[in-house]
Subunit: 238 residues, 6 copies
């Protein structure tokens, strides 16, 4: 039995609250159970130096956790003067995941900067971030279209992410903190609306995992991402 | 007329939501109109090195803004590798203000770490932070008493803060962003429940101000802080 | 009785030595008793990026203390790799105070960089710095006029600063280190030659202070700054 | 046809030169074709703070590239003052991969520090690093056994890594730089001698990849790692 | 007797392996006995900001040691976030030494960046670096001539370096680590092919040294550099 | 003719003002002509970690320049967040030079920290710093003896330093800024009272220098240091 009593193939309750803060071009509060992340998309009408004059845009991301989003207080990265390796890994993953579904040529010479800030953590902050950030990005791009700055959307497909793992010997979907800290294997899977893979990152925390376990985890992820994309579509239709 | 149509001596709508996030010993969302700050208080059963073995506690604070809490995106301080001078000024002010009403000897050899994170900014983030942080601190200390770790409260008095300024020639209370960016003088006043001053920080942004203007601003601050402390008391009674 | 036996409303001996070092466009050694600060003004015929092409100038300041300007050696900030929050607060205060009396439009597209370096500290280094820096700035601007680079002076008024506090229950003027480290309240007041306020920064170190104490401190500050401005005028006439 | 004319399932020439430098307890030059990495293992008879007194050891890794190991010179990380996100990702991956096959309890309270320094890069530096680092680690542990500091080896299994990808529509094994910079999908797979997975990290650089492509890449990786572990065994027997 | 049994005036075995790595315009492995340094020269068709538009080129150098190039592991400078004072001294010395024999005007508006990375240290890494870097620089410049980017060589003379010292009371040439860590005086001498001095850096580690000792060390250095330049010439002819 | 009209073998006017600031255990203003440096010696009754429990003391030094000690303003190192390579070289040189004449065993387990801060620069700041720092160190040690903390002085000899160079083809003593910036060769020589060498650091700025020039510079340095040590003795007797 999972600590949360969920079936092995059940997501936590997922909500996407659009327009969560007032300044950003896209602003979404994403909740995967008790994990809560504010995702904003900011439009910048210029591009980083390495893209100047190339006729294409860019999507990038930054990630942070409030110091007391976690059970015991973490050191504030702004105070310690650098972002941890974990933070950098996550923000690079978010950026790559979103760029995989955006036609950067069609975006034009502008950058969309995503910020994912965890205000409460209970496992799965990176997959919640990707799932919420896509909706914030979508809202920012809809704004550009509404203003006439874009004629057609550069978004090619939906993208969402979920974690899967092997917990007490059984594959489970969408790990919360209790599962995440105890599981043998943890895998984050990012997929598109058409069912293709953008990222697969599996790590054996303890015992290495077999090909059969890998296959079972991938099947759960395919199902979970499908449900998440349905939730994204409902939120955007709302 | 003020941009918000408020009377010169009117606060914005102020709310204090306790228990806003689940992990911290005290967690408060404070709203001064559209300014929203998450204030958490974390209990650490040790003290900084300079207080080891001295039989007293410590209260300290850190402050941050989400990159897109503002109208245009600010650089993330964790990414730029240092906290700005403004950030450091504000977090030092929050810490001093709270320590002014805490008997550090009675707190015992433990530290309470305050984190104030602005999720939406519309002027007055430092005064909202102090006002909300006091309630988070109060909740954390109530928890210590409930657990039997403290016999009596080390809190000696309430403390709250408000900004006042001279806007288009007239003293006004609780400046929002539109007023703050246009006013001639900006003053932040931190006061206790018994009507004494903890901090007075007035700055002429443009024209230096007269003693008469200073006196008028102090009167508005005395009134405003009185109202804020009433709101704190109501929240703690709730 | 004050440790120095001074009357409550007496400044320490204040001297301003112009032309203290040979390279800077303005160079002043300011002494408030045993507090000694070298203030230089350096003219830079360009402006920071955010002012390029705006037809106005800028005045900014940096502050430092020699490691052994104090009773026990402080860590060298260049070696520790960052300026403390206190240093940043002080240098921001010096810059704002000077800009309050300079017509930046009349200064033209150039920057005057102030450096205040404490070679011996005995309390009141920030107020001595502002008082001395104004004279260094004045000399640098006189040099620009003499060279024909400016037709008229952009300086609108004098500016000086003094600390006041409540020491053993009584308001006192111009605290030295013994008073500063023991006082209940410490306030730094920056005022112009015409008697207006540029900055008022009061902090209750221990017991919060009453409105009556605040008023008494402000009266002392008004008197003290008046005397300091007379000393500045004498130095510039010398 | 692959740029190197290799069959799709062929590794580059792989060599492992033990005892490459004289100071380290384990020192291996690993070559995957033109990719050359010096891997050293240093024994430290103490553990990091978080493990003190826990009766177990630790294995950690750092990674770097000589500035001109690449086609155009990269900035030296020591000079720029920080390690890139990519560097941190890779060194965390190397450390996790090695820890997955070491019984940290049996290692005792000591740390083995791995350093992987790329002296010439041609794609696959992280998989070469893991493959070479395992041999350096093995040599360091053999030394501890020879000195009587360990009674039995804490190494539970072999571990090696290889990259696979989809290049011009076809799954290929062990990408060199030309393939790596042009491929649609790049996956790094870390496996044990018993054929289980330690890490699977797949990224769609361009077009998201299908489940069928993922399965084909995994099959190539299983074969390739098997060959690499045979090479490790031969090197250790040599 | 020296620890290595060498005569007092004997160099260690010195080898210069050109074309050591494949990407750099010049790439040399220099060995002074067990001291091994990879020296690369990278051509950059631009100059640093302070030389833009001045019609001349630049030669600069960076230096590093692999963490386990030494008997006990050193902290990785990229991880600690800064280069030590020793590293900076050495790389400044290498740069100055090479610039002393290059006509920067004839080099044209381009920069040659030298990297010296120690893969195994046994004393004399800075003198080996200079000696090897000259050959890498020479190869890079020969390449520019071969490509028609330069009509004539800007190299005016050869340059090489050697250490000398007073070990157990006697002047000795080319100190290895055992001598270096025990000697009373250590001097590094950089000279040209025509027998002139570029740098002389002598330090009394223990007892200050006499003028007679200084003269004896200089004589050994003159002889040793002569031999090193012969080895450079042979390598370039090879 | 030298720009200053001094004979080739003449020092500038050198003064040593003891007791220059009031807090430090030793405090000396040293002037070599227009070069002015405040040298303080601070006694710290503990030693750095690497010397704990070894029964010996330490002498170390830091160096800095006020931003406008020079003709054009330099960036403040505390603001830029790091010390330049030049600063580190100089402070390491000062520390080594002083340690060469101190019996660290006799000093006991305490550290003397030297700070050399240039308030006005006109060439030769490092040699002036060494010469002044020795006197500050001597005063600090005399204080320890007077307090009974030391029975006998750990100072074994005097030490002073001077620059020599080749200017317009002729060897000259004690270069000022005009000479220093134009000379072909610049050498700093640190010597003891008994005429032995502690450091010899010669650099060809332009044309490499001959052995004859080196010998001539050494002779000038021997004479100059002799005169400086006489001035030190007179100051300490004063």
């Amino acid at each position: 039995m999972r600590p949360s009593s969920r079936p092995n193939d059940a997501l936590r309750r997922v909500t996407l609250t659009r327009g969560y803060t007032k300044h950003a071009e896209g602003s979404v509060l994403v909740e995967f159970g008790d994990t809560k992340v504010i995702c904003t998309a900011s439009v910048d009408e210029s591009v980083p130096g390495f893209l100047k004059g190339k006729g294409q845009g860019w999507v990038t991301a930054e990630y942070g956790m409030l110091p007391r989003s976690t059970g015991s207080r973490m050191r504030r990265e702004a105070a310690s003067g650098k972002q941890s390796g974990r933070t950098q890994e996550i923000q690079r993953l978010i950026g790559r995941s979103l760029r995989a579904v955006v036609d950067l040529g069609k975006l034009g010479e502008r950058q969309i900067q995503i910020d994912c800030d965890v205000i409460q953590a209970d496992g799965g902050t990176r997959t919640a971030s990707i799932t919420g950030a896509f909706v914030a990005l979508h809202d920012a791009i809809s704004g550009l279209i509404a203003q006439g700055k874009l004629q057609e959307s550069p978004i090619r497909d939906f993208v969402a992410a979920v974690s899967v793992g092997v917990f007490e010997g059984r594959p489970v979907l969408d790990l919360d903190y209790l599962e995440d800290s105890a599981c043998e294997t943890d895998m984050n899977v990012v997929m598109t609306g058409s069912g293709h893979f953008v990222e697969v990152q599996g790590t054996a925390e303890g015992v290495p995992f077999s090909r059969a376990e890998l296959d079972a985890m991938l099947r759960l992820a395919e199902q979970g991402v499908g449900e998440l994309i349905a939730i994204q579509k409902a939120a955007l239709a709302g």
